[in-house]
Symmetry: C2
Subunit: 118 residues, 2 copies
DNA sequence: CAGTATCCTGTGAGATACTG
DNA sequence: CAGTATCTCACAGGATACTG
């Protein structure tokens, strides 16, 4: 049996999370849903530049991972709400750790990057 | 002036970090260097499956961001050592937060994913 | 040893248009 | 409103071979 969380395993489950939060749009969706549920078009408007196709794909992936819940109301016109699950909410903590690091250190990264360009 | 760390800004600097730690190989390199400096070939061997081209690219990116330092010795045969900078070392903390979350919650994610497949 | 140099491919993602 | 359906493309990443 494998070490359950060997960082050097390509199939290490923690990479699942890293890839998810590293991808182009997931973080925007999670951030948008962090305070309240939102509807499809609300998300689309809030997250400037995302296309409906990509938003759908992102939401599907987050649902598949149990981070976001979808709730459809049988109304006319249709209404669908997305919200973070408890699991999704719990992910906000490590995300905030990254955020805190970024706030403290990104200036240095940008400096280093500028120096590297020169 | 923009909010310095508006998660909804496409150019939000914290995305820099998320993309970096979310990419295919950076985390392996950082993990490999977390305890001690390593040479190119040591890294290549430790991180199974990475090609020299990609390892070079990854190291370059990490150097450009000031997370990894490269030190070449004028010897024959050539010797080069890579190590985490203090900045790179400090990144281990938020990374461990993610890791801790993953250890606690990835099983649920995998369950959700399995349920989604069915 | 520590990389370069080429070539190649899959797929994440965008543009655009359409529908129950 | 809440998505689908196509089409297209760039580019991250891989395979393989070579070099100062």
């Amino acid at each position: 049996m494998d070490e359950p969380f060997d960082v050097f395993g390509v199939d290490c489950p923690s990479r699942v999370i890293l890839q998810r939060i590293g991808d182009r749009w997931s973080m925007f969706v999670i951030a948008a849903l962090s305070t309240r549920p939102m509807r499809f078009t609300q998300l689309k408007n809030r997250i400037g530049g995302i296309t409906p196709k990509v938003l759908t794909e992102t939401l599907r992936a987050l649902q598949a991972d149990g981070l976001v819940a979808r709730r459809a109301f049988a109304e006319m016109p249709p209404r669908v709400e997305y919200r973070l699950t408890p699991l999704g909410l719990s992910l906000l903590e490590p995300i905030n750790a990254i955020r805190a690091w970024a706030e403290a250190n990104v200036p240095q990264v940008l400096e280093a990057r500028a120096r590297a360009d020169a």
